[in-house]
Symmetry: C2
Subunit: 221 residues, 2 copies
């Protein structure tokens, strides 16, 4: 017979997946708005953000109830704590998507720059990272989660390239300062989204192996 | 007779305060390095960051042990969950300080811009916010914590001013693009630090009143 605790953990996981789906959608819409120069897509992001915020509170309450009523230990406790942390990360990913939407709104009022193609590549890469990290969470796949950690360096490298190219562009084209800065800030948001996906991967590893590998550590607990 | 649970919660709080002290120190050193054009202070920040990361793991372990062995409920459980969240925020504040240190390293190799004074004011304001949020945590002062939430708008306004002024400066002085962008990124880091102080204030309110006021909510739980 399935334990009540298992049913409740499954419910918390289900809520996380719904929230993660919203984050992926917001990320997709933000990228489409930017590349397709389609500002009508931006208002969808604010609606999705509201949904993400509602789910954020719902998941925290769900975990609090499980902790208070079921007093989970060992792996079950680690999974609940990981869900709480992933919940925080997803909520902040929603904030990043909203920031991208605001900056995109500004960008769309200016001349398009060819460097936007670098953001397009960065977005695709980060969206893969986000999707992978959540897939690993669903499958309890700590090995897969480890492969995500390496991807974070690639995101940083791509962001650095955007920074370098747009700095040079601004020096030669002072009229494009505003548009360049918009893309720099959006690249920064994507970098932060990559960081959050990395946090999720670390939480998956901790939940399913008990190893805390953050900050280069290898300790089991 | 004091409960074992109280002693353990006090220990977790003590660790949080040590970590918070490190964050405040890193923030102070970063600002001193930037304003005093003193790059030797920057290596202190990397040492402090290592200490913050060690404390981060230690506090998570401490909370996990309390949850596993004491099965706290009601206010005690909310306090433990708040400590876990504040721990995450403090660790990310450490990351922001490190980012400021890296960007400051670049900035110090360039011509100083007068707009650095705006960053100085922003830093002082954010440091007050950080200190206040931690004081409220120590005193369990939910009313004081509410006053911090308002300060976040002021931080955003100050960041916007830095952005506006430096955008104009870059347009007229293309040679100062690199230095201007450094200050813009540092202003962004300070804005994020203000966000984390706000998160801490929200966690204090939740821990001591049971009200989840995030995302404009007023629900008690």
């Amino acid at each position: 017979m399935e334990r009540a605790l298992d049913t409740q953990i499954d419910e918390a996981k289900r809520l996380i997946l719904i929230m993660a789906g919203s984050v992926e959608l917001a990320l997709f819409e933000a990228t489409e708005a930017l590349l397709g120069r389609n500002s009508s897509k931006l208002k969808n992001i604010h609606q999705i953000e509201n949904k993400i915020n509602e789910d954020h509170i719902k998941i925290d309450e769900c975990c609090l109830n499980i902790l208070a009523k079921q007093s989970p230990v060992a792996k079950d406790l680690r999974i609940i704590l990981s869900i709480l942390k992933i919940n925080t990360d997803l909520e902040r990913m929603g904030d990043q998507c909203t920031n991208i939407a605001y900056t995109t709104q500004d960008y769309l009022s200016r001349k398009d720059l060819q460097q936007v193609s670098l953001i397009s590549e960065m977005s695709e890469f980060v969206r893969t990272m986000v999707k992978k990290s959540l897939d690993c969470f669903v499958r309890g796949d700590a090995v897969g989660a480890k492969s995500i950690l390496v991807m974070d360096d690639e995101v940083d490298e791509r962001k650095n390239r955007v920074f370098r190219e747009l700095c040079e562009h601004m020096k030669k084209n002072p009229d494009d300062v505003d548009a360049s800065l918009d893309l720099i800030l959006i690249a920064r948001n994507f970098e932060r989204l990559g960081d959050h996906a990395t946090n999720i991967a670390e939480d998956v590893i901790f939940a399913y192996t008990g190893s805390d590998i953050r900050h280069g550590g290898k300790s089991g607990s």
